[in-house]
Symmetry: D3
Subunit: 177 residues, 6 copies
């Protein structure tokens, strides 16, 4: 069994939708979720996303990487820091002990794909952390290549961040089948 | 003329691509861009993006909004704070005086669209700030509705952040034609 | 018995007062308290306080709440974030795992009362966290209504924060009688 | 004329109260106030407040002060840092250049009074910064003396923060009469 | 045996040096180290360092200390805060529970020596935390005495931070002999 | 003339030393320095320092640099972030607009030397920022190579940070002769 919060699964048609918003009370007020009763276990989440940029910019990153790799390593640092800061940036998140962060970068012809894996021993899942790692890491790439992406009018006609998803979320060491 | 950095426009075919990566030195090292010589002026950037979620989740947000609106107002707060923190989250960004932040939320049948407008009187553009506002605000929405979006296996089959773009970047009060 | 630190109770007449300042060494230097030997247990603290404002401002908040509730929900977010940041704002505080934060708001004729409940599984109490939640949440209310509270001279003749207290501090699940 | 925002003065009976909440839009959404058009000038705000504690605790602070003064100097540092962090802790605040912070501490028989003066050259007032300095500095005092203030049940029967007010808010060098 | 990470000891001649850089992957990418499998235990690290300043400046600090001691107590606060913030300032560090911080200051004729002891119950060592405490605390001393150290040209001919070392790193309660 | 604060130069024999501690009041209390009256100008500070490590570790860094350079680029990012965060880490520092940060790394046989240049248009000097950049960047190097530097007992017999100095501090565009 992999679902860590079976009682919070997607609502079905005959349930009132409002009960699904666990960050708001029945009265509608914003709240954190009480995790004091939850058991600690090892949890893992993987998120991914991509930034679409011009092929020539991908080439510039690739060329740079042969030399010092600073564009991508700065993006990795930005992603790792964003993971650790999620409890600050996403207001209702708890601060959980992050035990591992992995960042994988793939260069396509016209895109950079960033995949961030986060592991925690805390009492809540860590998919928000993985998502923050992905979106921030991709924004760092954008920042590092922005001169190359701007058109003559100073705009970004092609750059965009897309397809940011949670590709896996589970308790580690629990069989998924 | 609206282009604030004409000398950093998109490279053309006969220019070496590497000159476009202004955040890396000729030797390939990561660096901040010197903005000490740049004139101060009023700048404005608008970014937008959306989170695709289930129609029933949009309904839950909408119902909540009639009551207290905490999902969306927490997302707004998260977006505004992310704008102000961009100098920390995006390593090569300067800290600039943010004079205004506007957040606009649109609810579609199966998506929430967030548009963030940032204005500054600083010496650099503020599109990274607007992008951080959008991606963080959308992640906050995700966090607030995650119980509703999870399937029985604890996964998020439908939720995704997409189409995050800079829709406008200019010096304010300069005609664009 | 509910007192978590019996050896640090209020001094009696025949004890030298100086031994009570656990954040200063015998030599008078500032220090953190060593919590490495303390057992982990579930602890809970409740603090409360109020901001006194004009009746017309309370009405404006109330009217707003019927619409979107952003004044109070922003105050709640500010309070929750302040709780989580106490280890930074109060220099000698340890960073403890916050497992739950509840915020309760009461509107009186001429005041807003905020009560913040904090729970932790850490090795120290969390009343400083609850106090920081209360004072920051009330300051956020002040910030949100400041235009309404200023007199024609730009001053705040009536607004004040008062009666900020710890109303309860205990280990959870321990009988208090 | 000392009022820096004459158009935001306290509403009168015939004005609708809702227009006074400048941090919410007409639609009721939370927002920052646009300060891009405001002139820069030198502004100053003074806030004050007190923590009521037992006479014996005041004596302990006083005794300590003769030695090393760490209780009060830690409170001063906490207050100054809180002033500088107000743009983070109060969500709708702008980050303004703080040019000066003064902290004054008075010891009464059963209370510590903290007065914080903040000066800025920014485009908005700095009374929220002064208030955050006062409430945080007083919380630091509480934290430093908490062992002395707890009763045998671990509670704080007498400690409380009270009378936190803005005592002055003005543009510097403007005559007040 | 005190070595907590025997498999990460200093490489010998016949091992490839590159395997020692645990913060870079085999492919050379920056990464955090996975600590999810490591047992929790009580760890302790002591770092020390000194700032060399003019004898007259040491005298000024000493004189001040007799009065209020603010120079050194501000340095202590800065050191303690730096210890707690190491997970932010050193990008690949994990956030670990700091259970104790001790700061010791020695005044020599022409130097201030700061020793910082950090204890944690986390899964990694805390020597980076101790080092950050030392270097930041010494920088705070520099900041507090900078007017006294500047020559007539505004330069610092004599001030320097030196000899910053980890003097001890071990699991607590393990015999070292 | 390059000295930006002639009235704060190193005291001479006939001046009382205590007047030099500008961060403490005459009464000995800690304080920020009022910079509201100071003119804005372009200022620049250069600090340098080195970490002494084993020759084999320098080789490992060098080998890595040929590949991806992540050790040094992470150190650069750490240094740049530390520069921008100095107003938080050094309690009495003002937050000033950092317009440029340059990081230079030299690899010697048994040491890494880091030089950080900071420029600002603010009203105070930026040598504390440069120092924080140097000490943090060097600590990041230490963190990245710690497995290689530990001996079989888990200690660091050779690693140390030393010779951290301000090598230049001036208003830019002012002749120094």
């Amino acid at each position: 069994m992999t679902d860590e919060e079976p009682d919070q699964a997607r609502h079905t048609a005959d349930e009132p939708a409002s009960t699904d918003l666990t960050h708001t009370t029945e009265g509608g007020d914003v709240q954190m979720v009480d995790v004091g009763e939850k058991p600690e276990s090892k949890r893992r989440a993987v998120a991914t996303g991509k930034i679409r940029i011009q092929p020539s910019t991908v080439e510039a990153i690739r060329a740079d990487e042969v030399g010092k790799g600073d564009v991508l390593s700065t993006a990795r640092v930005g992603a790792i820091q964003a993971v650790k800061h999620t409890w600050e940036t996403v207001p209702m998140c708890h601060q959980i002990p992050i035990t591992n962060v992995e960042t994988d970068v793939d260069l396509d012809d016209d895109a950079v794909t960033l995949t961030v894996t986060v592991e925690t021993t805390g009492t809540t899942g860590c998919e928000m952390e993985a998502l923050q790692g992905v979106t921030t890491g991709l924004t760092v790439v954008w920042d590092m290549v922005k001169a190359a992406e701007k058109d003559e009018d100073g705009q970004y006609p092609e750059a965009r961040i897309e397809d940011v998803r949670v590709v896996e979320k589970r308790k580690v060491r629990v069989d998924r089948d």
